[in-house]
Amino acid sequence: MKDKKRRLTAAVVEQKEIASGIFDLCLHVPEAAAEAHPGQFADLFCRDGSRLLPRPISIAGIDREKGTLRLVYRISGAGTAAFSGLHSGEAIDLIGPLGNGYPLDEARGRKVWLIGGGIGIPPLLETAKELSQSGVCSKITSVLGYRDKNLFLADEFEAFGEVLPATEDGSAGTKGTVLDVLKRCIPDQDSILFACGPTPMLRALQTFAAEQDLSCWLSLEERMACGIGACLACVCRTSETDDHSKVKNARVCKDGPVFRAEDVVL
């Protein structure tokens, strides 16, 4: 019988602040690293007993040999603030990997466009790396949206193909959003889009992909409790009745977080 999954204790390898309020955390947790795929997430627990629910954080890097996972997150409340205080050697509990991840096989022979906005950028990094290593796709272009000229992680994407940044304040790359970049250099029919970012960006991208008739996959975010598909907290509206719920509600944590753009209602 396969070993049961369980709450794991990871050791902090290192952590650094890579932009204001944005932290890059490397965890040694071989059981999780062995199973992880790009686009999946881990659910991190707080040490403070008054905060029960885990915090979902996307997997930004996987080193199966070293048994490490890389997570990049923004401080946005008490839990992430506490994580940011973790030092090398300290422990943090988690469950994972969770969710489906990006369907890398769908990229076979295609031009891949990775579209990331803000704190949605990190999971695309491991996606780029694995696509590139497997040689499955013909080309990788990363369209990355930032607030300002602190283009965290952008340099790492350059190893895998062209990087087209956009900044809200126009301080680097295209002034505006990732959509402004895409509208300038429209992906051709051979393309596939993998995206992660804030809902307004995903919604705009969904419309864009529909208009251009492009294959597009979106990674969604929703408030979660169990993280594994049992509690039905984290649903998103779907276009069709899905088989699990028998209503038009898919679970972001289990059926997602990555969905085909045309399958979800944002």
Partner: protein
């Protein structure tokens, strides 16, 4: 160790141990079966099921609170047909008891589900007359003793399995409701369901839950659960399944000392899926340490100081 030290009996049903899952936190066990051996549980209590699929509420459906959480899932469920086709066969693969939680907007809806379950291989029914997140029915049944007695009686007339009535804590006098359920013929009681609460995001000035209010669960409500189990244990003779904030063997034992015959674990699963099994182990250790022949000896055994 005495193999049967934890075995208990509620309304004629034999349970391996008194540790169950709380309805709605465990689905029908499929997802958690990757994390824990369902055979090690006293029972799986399933998510509430209605006569037809329910969509539930809009998201966000959950919010974290100090030592607890609010949920307003709104009883999303795939309906009794899918449940019978998919969930019961799944659970029958395991050697654990199956308690099906039933919900509805009206008496008729409850009865339709109970009717459909009549010839199904499930061990008990748990009737949720207390879900605070359904506006039409739900809460009104659970807060009015006459309504509770009447619906209990009708369900008992229809059901082929023993019936557990699950009570709402959002009442002035829980013993009045408990007595009404007993008078209606309930075989057992489950308590407590969630306490209605609310959270507001002060930056956006908006309700955190789409449904505005939600049900408070988790360790925060444990003292209220202990109190209500104790009050009901003084008021009725039928067995009680206690729940509300159980996250350790101690919490479970507290509910039993207050008068529960078994306990269910809900919210604590989200913090650690292995909690129910840890509780089983902790109970075993306690039973031996205290020299019990069977764990049921502590049910209601709290003493004055």
């Amino acid at each position: 160790m005495n193999k049967d030290i934890l075995s208990i009996n509620i309304a004629g049903v034999e349970f391996r141990n008194p540790v169950m899952t709380a309805s709605g936190t465990f689905g029908s066990g499929m997802e958690y079966s990757e994390y824990i051996d369902l055979n090690a549980l006293g029972a799986v209590v399933t998510k509430g099921v209605a006569d037809v699929p329910w969509e539930g509420n809009a998201v966000p459906r959950v919010a974290e609170t100090p030592s607890g959480m609010l949920n307003a899932i709104g009883l999303q469920n795939p309906g009794i047909d899918t449940f019978i086709e998919r969930d019961i066969p799944f659970l029958k693969q395991f050697d654990t008891k199956i308690i099906v939680n039933v919900c509805g907007h009206t008496e008729e809806e409850y009865l339709r589900v109970v009717e459909r379950l009549k010839d199904q291989p499930v061990d008990m029914l748990e009737i949720n007359i207390s879900c605070p997140n359904v506006r039409e029915g739900g809460i009104s049944f659970g807060q009015d003793p006459h309504g509770v007695e009447s619906i209990t009686r009708k369900i008992k007339e229809t059901a082929s399995q023993p019936v557990i009535m699950k009570l709402s804590p959002n009442v002035t006098d829980i013993t009045e409701i408990a007595r009404a359920a007993e008078a209606g013929g309930a075989d057992a009681l489950s308590l407590i369901n969630t306490i209605t609460g609310m959270k507001i995001d002060v930056r956006t000035r908006r309700f955190l839950l789409a449904n505005r209010t939600g049900g408070l669960s988790g360790p925060a409500i444990h003292p209220v659960a202990v109190r209500m189990v104790w009050q009901c244990a003084q008021a009725v003779r039928i067995p009680i399944i206690g729940m509300g904030g159980v996250q350790s063997a101690e919490d479970a034992l507290e509910l039993m000392l207050a008068g529960a015959s078994a306990v269910a674990v809900g919210t604590a699963l989200f913090a650690d899926p292995a909690v129910p099994l840890k509780i089983v182990k902790g109970m075993e250790a306690y039973a031996e340490e205290q020299g019990l022949v069977n764990i049921s000896e502590i049910t209601g055994a709290v003493k004055e100081r």
